[in-house]
Amino acid sequence: MGCGSSFPDRGSRHMGRPHPEDGGGHDARNIRVKLVLLGDSGVGKSCIVLRFVRGQFDATSKVTVGASFLSQTIALQDSTTVKFEIWDTAGQERYAALAPLYYRGAAVAVIVYDITSPESFSKAQYWVKELQKHGSPDIVMALVGNKADLQEKREVAVQDGTEYAEKNGMFFIETSAKTADNINELFEEIAKRLPRPSDIVDYATSKLPPDVLAA
């Protein structure tokens, strides 16, 4: 796995290279992406992040209020690095009004449900629709069925997840933050699906207001 997590540090080389509205800031070998996690309350969004960033799991982790932020860098086989700036949102309905604040400009959206809860699967579909309407058009979306370790309590068939994801052009995976199953795979797969530097015009510095660039 990549290097440790941190709040993006002021002195980093990225300071001079803010990323554009639609997502990643890129130079040849280092990609920086904003990723947002959405999904029903208690499906394990924070646990997925914690597992990915710190390699930890806590069955009784705290309720997320508003949103929390963590980042993690991974190195791909072609020796590019991808730094995920992860916005982990609160799942409760009341906070849905704030969600646009977090998914605005996100290059990646990870929509999570709990395989033991059909309600959370419908909630996931709500988020997919919301992003299709209001997210950036080339956002990479992943549908994640979490708590895959609870096979005996499963209420959402793998098939359902696969089909829905396929229909909506999403990448689908089932994970377990508890056993760490497929967590790294999820983020590696996302990294592979990101637009490469060669695919995009480098307009990283062109879209910000002049006063920000001058600051």
Partner: protein, 354 residues
């Protein structure tokens, strides 16, 4: 989409707020305090609390660091007397709610001379100081509790065993008039019991879909509340939290339960349970308490939570206008006090969020 419309409305509301509401006295007060802090002054509770004082008298502010160390050395030399005073104050702890004046006069006159000494030296010192305990006892034992005085005293901390009483008073739950206090509390606690049977102890079939959802959300969140303290992992504790939160949510439909409110109940629960449970919280168990005791604790939590949230319910209503307003004020404050920091932060946020 509806959300966006609402967001826009809020933005409009906010900028209106900016034009009209910002130069209010409270804001300027805070601004002055922060400026004072930046100039190396300390912010004592006195200033923050005395909004009615038009021009805060900075000259009267003593340096807490100085007085504190002074009072420590003083307690060191007169440790015996302080200890005695503390013991005396503690002996009245169980009954100070209903303490009669005579009893107080006796204990006060007993310690008159040493107390004066300590009182002088420990101005602004910590809650454990015996002189402070005496002051608290004095304020609390009158027929009418002077809330302003109590608030001022409480700023630098409330002695642990007085905290339940002080919080109930400061939040406006317990009446300041001691003659009425017990009766009002008894009535409020019964009222809570009523709510429980009316809203909580009913079959799901009698709940609306929204109510079921809310209960489900609360049930999901209670086990995830203060998970790092083992006491909160006890099922009875989580059930108490659930009842308090659900009752509050049902009674406040404009906001309902919102994640984050769970964290506001826990201090109340700990403080009011401390009247029944002793020692470290890790060794606490609610199983030894009678159902009356539990429901009284829950009732106190419920009413205090209600009082606390009354002043900031718009933090939890749709799109959280209250929080947005505060964030805006904070932004304004930073801009006025430190322009460089402000543009730095703005730049940073652009990079992160954009």
């Amino acid at each position: 989409m509806k959300n966006d419309d609402d967001n826009n409305n809020n933005k409009a509301e906010r900028s209106k707020d900016a034009a009209v509401g910002i130069p209010d006295s409270r804001f300027n007060q805070t601004l002055r305090n922060v400026q004072g802090l930046l100039k190396g002054r300390n912010i004592p509770g006195k200033i923050l609390l005395s909004q009615r004082v038009s021009s805060p008298d900075y000259s009267s502010l003593s340096s807490p660091t100085y007085t504190r160390s002074f009072s420590y050395s003083e307690t060191g030399t007169s440790g015996l007397t302080s200890e005695r005073i503390e013991k005396q104050a503690q002996s009245s702890r169980k009954s100070f709610g209903s303490l009669n004046d005579n009893k107080l006069k006796v204990s006060a006159s007993n310690v008159q001379s040493p107390s004066e000494e300590v009182q002088k030296s420990s101005f602004g010192a910590r809650a454990t100081d015996s002189a402070r305990i005496l002051k608290f006892t004095k304020v609390l034992s009158g027929t009418m509790v002077a809330l302003e005085k109590l608030r001022e005293l409480s700023w630098s901390g409330v002695p642990d065993y007085m905290r339940p009483t002080v919080w109930r008073l400061l939040l406006g739950y317990a009446p300041t008039n001691s003659d009425r206090r017990e009766g009002v509390l008894r009535r409020k606690r019964l009222e809570y019991l009523d709510y429980i049977s009316q809203y909580y102890d009913i079959p799901d079939a009698e709940r609306s879909d929204d109510e079921i959802n809310m209960l489900r959300q609360i049930a999901v969140d209670c086990p995830r509340t203060v998970p790092e303290v083992s006491f909160f992992q006890q099922e009875q504790v989580q059930k108490s939290l659930e009842r308090i939160l659900y009752t509050w949510a049902i009674r406040h439909p404009a906001s309902g339960y919102v994640q984050g409110i769970n964290d506001l109940v826990t201090p109340f629960l700990v403080v009011f349970l401390s009247e029944y449970l002793e020692g470290a919280i890790d060794n606490w168990s609610m199983s030894g308490l009678s159902s009356d005791q539990i429901s009284n604790v829950e009732a106190d939590c419920y009413w205090c939570l209600s009082k606390l949230l009354d002043g900031m319910q718009d933090h939890y209503t749709f799109a959280q206008p209250g929080i947005q307003r505060l964030v805006f004020k904070l932004k304004e404050l930073v801009r006025r006090i430190d322009g460089n920091l402000f543009s730095g932060l703005l730049f940073f946020l652009q990079v992160i969020i954009a």
